[in-house]
Symmetry: C2
Subunit: 212 residues, 2 copies
């Protein structure tokens, strides 16, 4: 049996994964990974040791192997099926984006919306279904993840419905926190405005004069 | 004069900001913020002390005040103007999203594309301009940030053009790392597929049986 990996470690893995997926290096030390992700190199060495990834002193870790191992720990090798709620511009972009990336481990199998004008149309190979069929689709396709691209007013109710139907992982783009009373649900909030705000330091820091 | 804040601290601030913006608490301890963001509570206390935010033992920090202070440190109070490159579904969603959030500190002032069918149309109050006008728009509107929603093949070249025109902060949705040789450019990569992959642990961990 594999040692149980602490939740705190699991929560740091996506940050490592993000950086490993975009860096151009063949090997990386815990020091570099630390500088890039903001965690201490001791923390990183401890985290990676949990799943048997041991760096070589002065040489570091093999980037490709480490990335594969993190994907395995995140259990992507079992395959994930997702529903996108909201077939507006963002929902449409997501379905195409994931479709184009040809992830065999991650599939968007359904899209739902409440606009009768777009129900029945298709995005890529996925047809837009009425939102009333949400629970039925979750069961039919064994859906484990939902991506919410909804107005804030509807997001919380829909998330509750999905959680009751057995969906435990959410990616929420609605500009409202989706909190549920359930402890077995994990919500990753992505606020695109906030992502831009967080970058503003790097705009201004290099400008000799502030915008008047 | 304010003490200079280390770059490593600046890079952790967005993570704090994200969580503070979505939590429902009035006050937060460094321990809770640490659990939520993956950083140690010592690290958090040290970071926040740099800009004069001191928690009260056992009571913690005022969430609203801390959030405001981080936004100030990120220099959002000076205002940021951004261009969106690519007026497809994702670009369109972003312009609407930021427009609706009515951030007075963050404004998308231009959208460019190379598709003659959509050049001249408007998204919200922003008209789609030809990509040839990129440098001209950067100068005209004093643009400091670019959001790239482009095919991978075009992203690197456009980023280089923008950097040469004086844009130093990028939010890149293209599924390719945008690396420039310039050290004064900061690129935040957002890979939406990766965001979904990173969630998969939370799908599977709760399912009694793996997907066959």
């Amino acid at each position: 049996m594999q040692q149980r990996i602490p939740d705190a470690t699991i929560r740091r893995l996506p940050a490592y994964l993000r950086w490993l997926s975009t860096c151009n290096l063949e090997r990386v030390t815990s020091g570099i990974l630390g500088q890039a992700t903001g965690f201490s190199s001791e923390q990183i060495r401890k985290d990676l040791a949990y799943f048997g990834a041991f760096g070589t002193r002065g040489v570091g870790y093999d980037v490709k192997a480490l990335r594969q191992e993190i994907l395995r720990i995140l259990q992507l090798d079992r395959g994930v099926r997702a529903v996108v709620v909201g077939a507006g511009h963002l929902g449409t972009a997501l379905v195409r984006y994931v479709g184009q990336s040809r992830q065999r481990d991650l599939e968007i199998v359904a899209v739902v919306d409440n606009d009768s004008d777009i129900i029945g149309t298709t995005i890529g190979h996925v047809s837009v279904e009425p939102i009333e069929k949400l629970e039925q689709l979750v069961e039919e396709y064994d859906i484990g993840m939902a991506v919410l691209t909804l107005p804030a007013s509807a997001a919380v109710e829909i998330a509750e419905r999905l959680a009751n139907a057995g969906v435990h992982a959410f990616l929420n783009f609605a500009p409202v926190p989706v909190c549920t009373k359930r402890f077995d649900v994990f919500v990753q909030q992505i606020d695109l405005t906030l992502e831009m705000q967080a970058l503003s330091y790097f705009v201004q820091a290099r400008q000799p004069h502030p915008i008047p």
